[in-house]
Subunit: 272 residues, 2 copies
């Protein structure tokens, strides 16, 4: 699974993408932390969860980055030539699952929190989404660490069941609640669900690569890049969209707040 | 007690669980720190103590993680194959006791602080709970580091006395005070005590494993996983429930605060 040898270019590609994820997650968290007072208090729970998700992802990517740097070494001067696996150190693919076990349920909490639904509806949705998300990740793990394609396929299949259930809750059950949302954000929330579907779709594809007999160093590098891009979209980009929704809803709820906060001439003009 | 050899899978399991605890404690602390203004000032003492507890636990798990990483090494390329004990470095199980000595009394302070009882009742409860908790941990330590099963049993038994006393205070003496709590949180506080009982119950079980002649690498890995999960539940999950109680009580105490803070449409609607 983990290639014995990476070319200098392959090594640099993975190295740079892992670092890109750290920068994206860490500074999305910093941006949101500074911007927290720019939404009404009732939407700060959603943004706080978004900060925590990006923070947890940054922490794990620091570890993944270090693990990668330790796991491959070049014997040539200046790091030229191939990088081969170091003695006694393994690249820990498992970190991704530890990260997802915490962050994936929280991504759904973020989404539900920003909707600010009635208490009963909200807890009903969370009681269904959070355990399903944790189960989805937990079922993927045994397949990922097993070298056996049969086990990988079996656990991949099992993990698809909670995934399908999450999609059902998001695209069928949640749709009713969307009618209570301000018109201005309804479209964005709809698009957010598709972003979630699209970015989450990368994970099963990367997971199934070994089953398609796509292996070797190139496939592994491709998988690392795919996971990295998916993590940026599913967490950092997603968080920024959630922040946009929270801001739009804050303005909608409170015209005075909108007039003082909005940077747009047309929104702010109401104060003159 | 500490196994000479761990398989690659056993090593990865302990490694990932220790890291999971770091992420959980650290980002629960971050979440609560950001969320502190979201409860009334009178409940911020409880949340501050919760932040400190999760922070202390994160610090100790950083140390435990590093200690584990240094204590076991693999001689194979890519870290494949078994991990054996490194020369000159030992895994420091004692860190857990240093952590508990600080955090376990503070967990009880958290609980009492969020109840916001009369000054006299509060200090009466703390004067009983805090020394008992410190004594419970201090008595467990000599048994844990002793290789002798007789000493382990003796100190385990001694440590059970303050534990039983804590349960008596929490489940008998505290029950009277619960009637002064708002109805909305009474159930949650009741459940919190059982969460505490359940998660604290893991520690004596792990402690007694050697007495039951359950030993070997698998038992040791199981113990590390058990301690990790128990620490996440007893500190991070517990802190989030305390935060929930503090938020509910804040809303109950101050309708204006509730209207501006509450994310739920039905609570917030009272403001319109």
């Amino acid at each position: 699974m983990i290639p014995d040898i990476l070319s200098q270019g392959q090594y640099a590609t993975v190295y740079n993408f892992l670092s890109l994820v750290i920068a994206s997650q860490l500074f999305t968290a910093v941006f949101l932390l500074i911007s927290l007072p720019r939404v009404l208090p009732r939407y700060r729970q959603a943004i706080t969860v978004a900060i925590v998700v990006c923070g947890i992802a940054a922490y794990h990517y620091f570890r993944i980055f270090d693990s990668f740097k330790d796991a491959f070494i070049s014997k040539a001067a200046g790091g030229a030539g191939d990088y081969s696996q170091a003695v006694g150190v393994s690249f820990n693919e498992g970190y991704r699952y530890v990260d997802w076990l915490l962050t994936v349920p929280l991504l759904l909490v973020e989404l539900i929190a920003v909707l600010a639904l009635a208490r009963k509806v909200q807890s009903g949705l969370l009681m269904r989404l959070v355990p399903a998300a944790a189960l989805m990740i937990a079922l993927g793990y045994p397949g990922e660490i097993s070298g056996d394609n049969g086990l990988r396929g079996l656990f991949g299949l099992l993990s698809t069941i909670p995934f399908a259930y999450i999609l059902y809750v998001l695209f069928v059950q949640l749709s009713k609640s969307l009618n209570t949302q301000p018109v201005s954000v309804r479209k964005t929330i709809g698009r957010l669900r598709f972003l979630l579907l699209l970015s989450w779709g990368v994970y099963p594809i990367a997971y199934l690569l070994p089953l398609l007999n796509i292996s070797g160093a190139d496939a592994w590098v491709f998988k690392q890049v795919g996971y990295s891009v998916a993590d940026i979209v599913a967490k950092a980009v997603y968080a920024l969209i959630i922040f946009g929704i929270a801001k739009a809803k804050s303005y909608e709820d409170n015209a005075e707040f909108a007039a003082s906060e909005a940077a747009h001439d047309d929104v702010a003009s109401s104060r003159r």
